[in-house]
């Protein structure tokens, strides 16, 4: 690990002022940043420790739920309000990492975790995300875990977070604090960026900006499901995942919000897919039509071609479960 200066922030204001110096990174749980620093994939000259800041609250407001950026993944998953009204979020968190990691991992850090692309981690290989302009070793290389939607000639990486997929389906927003004292709110839909020709720029976060909270709008009633497909039953990243919030009325789909993990550089959501479902009576043919729309532009890279049929089958399975008449499963 490269040497760095360590600064413990006493307040958000402190942390933001410290972050104005170039080469500074915030550290929260450290479970992603320290891993990458050990590999020298990330080499910040200064670390500002924000882990003791007062951003640990989970509060219910008229506008929904406000989750502080430093709430741990464990606390968020076990929170009684989240379990009751946003079970999808609990389920997605519990499907990720391990008990130990979730105790340390924070809400803000989880959103900003970097890709698990093998070549991003391997400093001996070209990678446009790690070193802009060096090339992409995954294109034409091993790319089993890579993107089938929204990728570019420069980068085909996926975003690894489970939590972010659930938050995308729940139409969450992110509250950001700027060094100058500004505060803005960005929908998760506009927070992440596709790789394009700047895959090293992953979000709309400005230099020195800090995530203060995640905001969830009031829960809509209905069935909530997070289904994650991976190489082993536990403790593995998603190959494909589907987050669904779905409400039935008189045998028809009245509301549907669907987000997908493992497919793209960010949690994926498609208005066309949701639009085609709403107002319809569920059927295998309908689910197939939804998958056609989701995957119309899908492109495999070789090793990850299997993700195209896998995404289709996973979507169909989730929709079948979410529209079934029985009363089992999580409901908001």
């Amino acid at each position: 690990m490269r040497a760095f200066d360590y600064i413990r922030a006493g307040s958000c204001k402190d942390a933001l002022a410290e972050a104005e110096t170039p080469g500074t990174a915030f550290i929260a749980g450290g479970t992603n940043l320290l891993d990458l620093m050990k590999h020298e994939v990330m080499t910040p000259a200064r670390l500002v420790d924000i882990s003791r800041l007062d951003l640990r609250g989970i509060t219910l407001t008229d506008a929904g739920l406000r989750v502080g950026a430093l709430v741990s993944n464990s606390d968020l998953a076990a929170d009684p309000l989240v379990r009751r009204h946003w079970p999808l979020l609990s389920r997605a968190l519990l499907a990720g990492a391990s008990g130990q990691l979730r105790n340390k991992a924070t809400t803000g850090g989880n959103l900003l975790q970097r890709t698990r692309c093998y070549y991003f981690y391997d400093t001996a290989m070209p990678c446009n995300k790690r070193e802009p302009g060096s090339g992409c070793a995954a294109i034409g290389g091993f790319n089993r875990i890579h993107a089938i939607l929204g990728a570019s000639e420069a980068c085909i990486a996926t975003h690894p977070s489970d939590m972010a997929v659930a938050l995308r389906a729940l139409s969450a927003e992110v509250e950001l604090l700027a060094p100058g004292g500004g505060r803005r709110q960005v929908p998760l839909a506009a927070f992440y960026r596709l790789p394009g020709d700047t895959p090293h720029v992953e979000t709309v976060l400005e230099p020195g900006e800090m995530i203060a909270a995640v905001l969830l709008p009031p829960a809509e009633g209905g069935r909530q499901i997070y289904r994650k497909v991976r190489d082993r039953a536990s403790y593995a990243f998603a190959l494909v995942s589907v987050a669904a919030c779905l409400r039935m009325e008189q045998g028809r789909i009245a509301a549907a919000a669907l987000a997908f993990g493992g497919l793209a550089h960010m949690p994926w959501r498609s208005a066309d897919v949701e639009g085609t479902l709403i107002g319809e009576v569920p059927s295998a043919a309908l689910f197939d039509r939804a998958a056609d729309l989701l995957l119309a532009e899908a492109k495999g890279q070789g090793d990850n071609d299997f993700k195209i049929p896998l995404a289709r089958r996973t979507l169909a399975a989730v929709l079948a479960e979410a529209t079934a008449e029985d009363t089992e499963g999580d409901r908001a």
């Binding site: 891993d35 008990g99 340390k104 536990s234």
Partner: protein, 171 residues
């Protein structure tokens, strides 16, 4: 940098490079070598300790970030003369082969049983409303962050079930 850690109720004042992980501080600076280093990247669980009662991977945390914290390692759970219930259960069921993963397994399981007690759900829980129970499937899922290269898993799960059952009887 100067860091004070309370490890197993003993205060340690250490002078550390900021890069020192909590794991290296425990092993190389405080001299407590029960906690093991497997992968050093958060993937195996050998380095699991409890900080302020919660289990974490000490390899993925900086010691300077834990200034003032209370750390419990395997040495703090019990001694050969006075084993903790989980330590005794691992002996009883033969819950190890080489023993390298064992300190991490036992620290992890100790905190995991408290999580179950607090009603935290898991990925395999049928409902999120609880109660959480220490079934085989629940233990396997909740302990998935602790790998065992010798694959002593059946006996590890048996040890944890035994300790959980004994605790229920005592309660």
């Amino acid at each position: 940098m100067h860091v004070t850690l309370t490890i197993n109720d003993t205060k340690h004042s250490l002078d550390l490079d900021p890069r020192t992980t909590l794991l290296d501080a425990i092993r190389s600076h405080a001299g407590l070598t029960g906690t093991k280093k497997g992968c050093d990247h958060g993937q195996c669980g050998a380095c699991t300790v409890m900080v302020n009662g919660r289990r974490i991977n000490s390899c993925l945390s900086l010691a300077v970030m834990h200034d003032g914290d209370a750390v419990t390692t395997i040495e703090g759970l019990g001694t050969p003369e006075a084993l903790s219930p989980l330590q005794a259960a691992f002996l009883e069921t033969d819950g190890f082969q080489c023993g390298y993963c064992t300190p991490g397994q036992i620290c992890s399981a100790t905190a995991m049983l408290e999580e179950i007690r607090a009603g935290w759900p898991s990925h395999v829980s049928e409902t999120l409303d609880g109660p959480a129970l220490p079934t085989e499937a629940e233990i396997a899922e909740r302990m998935s962050g602790n790998l065992c290269r010798c694959s002593a898993y059946p006996n590890i799960v048996a040890a944890i079930r035994l300790a959980a059952a004994e605790r229920e009887d005592a309660a």
